[in-house]
Amino acid sequence: MNLADQVTGSSNATRQRVLSYLGRVNYSLAGKYLVTGTVRADGSSKFAANNKWAVFPSAAVAWRLSDEPFLRRLIPAVSELKLRLSAGSTGSNAIPTYQSLAAWNVGAPYAIGPTAFFNGATLSRITNPNLRWETTVQYDAGVDLGLFGNQLTVTADAYDKTTKDLLYAKQVPYLLGFASYVTNIGRVRNRGLELAVDTRSASRGLEVRLGGNVSLNRSKVLDLGGDRQFFLTGSNTSLPRWENDVIVQVGQPLGNFYGYVWDGIFQSSAEAAASGQAGAVVGGDKLRDVNGDRKIDSNDQTILGNAQPRYLFGLTGSVTYDRFSLSVLVRGALDFQVVNVSRAGMETPGGSSNMLTSVLGYWTTTNPSNSMTALNVSPFDGLTSRWVEDGSFVRLQNVTVQWDVPERLGARVGVRRLRLYLSGQNLLTASRYSWYDPEVSSRGTSDLTLGWDDSNYPGTKTVTVGASVGF
């Protein structure tokens, strides 16, 4: 079905170039002491004329303790032990082309009297002579430990990563004629720990592997180029239309939701009238006067949650016996929030589009609900904690069973090798999140805009039955 009565084509040409030089030195002493040094110079066409080049050095040292005779003598159970230290910087040029150049774009339709034209010119950028590489400096310390002939292995890493000159489309007041511009702003630090443990045991043809990993990352905004904070706003063409619903603030992690605290529903006209909240009506959303000045305004907005999980974990297990094997992967994320925009659009009692059945509990004088507005009263037009939900989940990510068919059976049907398998992805999710999938992200996957669910397709559940055949 083609609803458009006119279809126009358009064309666009962009070119980006990258030029890199790389030097590396490896040095190994008796196989026990390892040193690596790298220096690279990267040039990208995307940056301003005088900022196209940047140099990124890095160095790493490692000490294979398990090759030291004294350690073997002292602790014979250790089959492998390696200590690692590294420091280095890398660059990012992940922005669209031409962002340092002012631009007039041609192609806006306009009309002069009865004649339509399609080549109106509009301003889309001004020059940014300071646009340059985003640089990340990372320090990492790690241990690789193997015990009992590597039947038990442990890998642990700690890192501290600071990114400066972040490339970001910074919002500017509309009164300047633009909405945002791509620039380098501030510094963000990420610190984290990663721990992985794997075990392997085999006896009489039965091999069992069990493993687990856990990681945690803490981000913190260190500097925003002099600003204390900035806000993001939902896309103009789709929900959420809420203004300033994400806050990036010095001293805070990335991914903070920003809005009003929801205190349920106004139960009387008197309560609504006394609230100091513009548009307050009985049966409508009640917002909290966070700063206690007896009126509800933007100063009552506060941080409502964070999209970055505080803990990520995974568990793996596999059993192999003879020609059969079974493997299971469970993973999860704990302690983070999701904004359920989908629900926000479907909880207006009496609305003319599809609504959730929860609206049937709408507020009336005889049904003084504190969770659902009254008939024809839509939710407050802005982000409130009403839509912020716990996203923590545990998911059975993968289960695979496979069987290698014996050659003699395969030979009967003319194949040399035959493997049959049954595999399921994303089979079960345990979560208190009320919509389909707490892992979706409607506003892109940047650290700033994770955690928005606006009727996205959830992750799919897949069951695969397969055969792999070799002739």
């Binding site: 030029l19 110079a41 037009d381």
Partner: protein, 500 residues
């Protein structure tokens, strides 16, 4: 170490040779170094300003935002819904985050910045003849004035932007200018534009083809002087307002369309009465028609966002030839006739919340079947100035400056004659004033004039506090809408309007 030193040396040697490799040479856009350069460039740069009014910028302001913040909150229009951002405008329960505020604000200042870029550029375009440069300079000054005028009438004191944005780092410390200073600047821009612009463009067959003209700039100047003489600015420019309106009349470029109903047909747009209209057509069909049309009337259905009121309709005399055109009370589509007052479910509105049936806008309703084929849009233009408005502006200003002179009667009676109403005679200055006010409300209904008229007449609160929807949240300070919250958050020096 030696290796490392070597590679650094190699890098250093090569960098110099490769500078050109990383230079960006745009293929798909122009830069201010090379654009605009020719007359053809100027044409598309001027056309691009319209993008803020009608085009790709989301919900451009003459599709939706402008009637949303100037017509819906007036006493002549009511939003259909009782719960959304339109209702918030209608009932004065909006807050500073209301989406229609920042949409219109953004589009106004986007257009102003593009005008400023061109105002700075055009005088240096030595490849283009002086007469062409004059025309385009006049046109972009008109656009800068038009948008400041819209902003100052909606918000009062706003930033006065007279230079193109050159950098962002310090530009977020812009503050608002006093209202009187903004009006002075608008008047200067329009006086310049009126001098620089022709009565019609050389390649145009009508005075109004959507490009600014001397008539458009002069008509707007009359309007600006009326506003400066009103309750908000409280200066006395009545004589200048009358002179500007008279200059438009004396240009003899415009006449009233004899039959009021013909004025509103799509086939008659840019006719002899139109002085300046926002152009819709081609790929840019308007949404505003659809928003004031009932749904549920077959192929002529719109999206039923707002309608007028029976109380306003009752102020029209039955002999007023404008009444039937202004209000939509009955529609025949094929063999079915729908009426606005047939219960249950008045046409369009299946869940009426008002005791009396509500008439829809008739002015923008041209039942020619085209709306169904065009995704709910039509090619009708949005009228900014037409000759009847200029006659009434003249009558009002002349009466204030010199009393009800024969010229003042002549102007208002032309408009009344077209409406088949008896001529006025023998009125006191006060009676004449009341008559002009009433005449404007009838003649210019739904054309985003009413709310600004009430403000400058000083009757904003008195009239709207009698409006059953507006009075829900109305307070006297709401004569100015709140500055969009996003702007204050990004530029705290702006501050909020009193009361919000």
């Amino acid at each position: 170490m030696i290796l490392r030193t070597l590679s650094l040396a190699v890098i250093a040697l090569t960098l110099g040779g490769c500078r050109g490799w990383l230079v960006e040479e745009p293929q798909s856009f122009f830069t201010p170094d090379d654009f605009p350069t020719t007359e053809a460039d100027l044409k598309i740069a001027l056309g691009g300003i319209d993008d803020w009014y009608t085009g790709g910028q989301s919900q451009a302001y003459f599709h939706r935002g402008w009637p949303m913040i100037t017509e819906v909150p007036s006493d002549q229009t009511v939003a259909q819904s009782a719960s959304d951002s339109r209702y918030a405008q209608d009932s004065y329960t909006l807050n500073a985050s209301n989406e229609w505020l920042w949409r219109v604000w953004r589009q106004i200042y986007g257009a102003i910045n593009q005008a400023n870029v061109l105002i700075a550029r055009i005088p240096q375009m030595d490849q283009v003849s002086q007469s062409v440069r004059d025309r385009y300079l006049g046109a972009v000054k008109f656009h800068r004035a038009f948008n400041h005028f819209n902003a100052v009438r909606v918000w009062g004191s706003v930033p006065l932007m007279m230079r193109p944005t050159a950098e962002f780092a310090t530009a977020t410390q812009i503050t608002r200018a006093p209202t009187a200073e903004i009006y002075d600047s608008i008047a200067r821009d329009l006086a310049d534009a009126a001098t620089l612009l022709p009565l019609r463009w050389p390649d145009s067959s009508t005075p109004d083809d959507g490009r600014p003209t001397r008539g458009a700039a002069t008509a707007m100047l009359a309007d600006v002087y009326l506003n400066m003489s009103g309750a908000i600015v409280q200066q006395n420019h009545w004589a200048e307002a009358a002179a500007a309106a008279k200059a438009v009349i004396d240009s003899k470029a415009y006449t009233l369309v004899p039959n009021f109903a013909d004025l509103w047909l799509i086939k008659n747009k840019n006719g002899p009465e139109h002085i300046y209209s926002i152009q819709f057509g081609g790929l840019k069909r308007n949404l505003f028609t659809s928003q004031s049309r009932p749904s549920g009337i077959g192929v002529e259905s719109g999206i039923n966002y707002w309608y007028s009121t029976p109380d306003f309709m009752a102020t029209f005399s039955d002999s007023d030839a404008r009444k039937k055109t202004t209000f939509l009370t009955q529609v025949t589509v094929g063999t079915t006739t729908y009426r606005y007052d047939t219960l249950p479910g008045f046409f369009g509105d299946k869940r009426p919340r008002f005791p009396k049936p509500m008439p829809y806008y008739g002015k923008f309703y041209d039942a020619n079947g085209s709306i169904a084929n065009n995704n709910g849009r039509t090619d009708l233009n949005w009228p900014i100035y037409r000759y009847a408005d200029v006659l009434l502006m003249f009558a009002e200003a002349e009466n204030e400056a010199n009393g009800p002179t024969p010229d003042a009667y002549g102007a208002i009676n032309q408009v009344r004659a077209r409406a088949k109403l008896a001529p006025l005679a023998g009125l006191s200055q006060d009676q004449f004033r009341d008559s002009v006010h009433r005449e404007r409300s009838w003649e210019l209904a739904f054309e985003s004039k009413r709310l600004f008229d009430l403000k400058r007449w000083g009757s904003f609160y008195a009239v709207l506090s009698q409006d059953p929807v507006a009075k829900i949240g109305l307070q006297p300070f709401m004569v100015f809408l709140p500055i969009p919250q996003r702007e204050i958050d990004l530029d705290p020096g702006l501050g909020q309007n009193t009361g919000w």
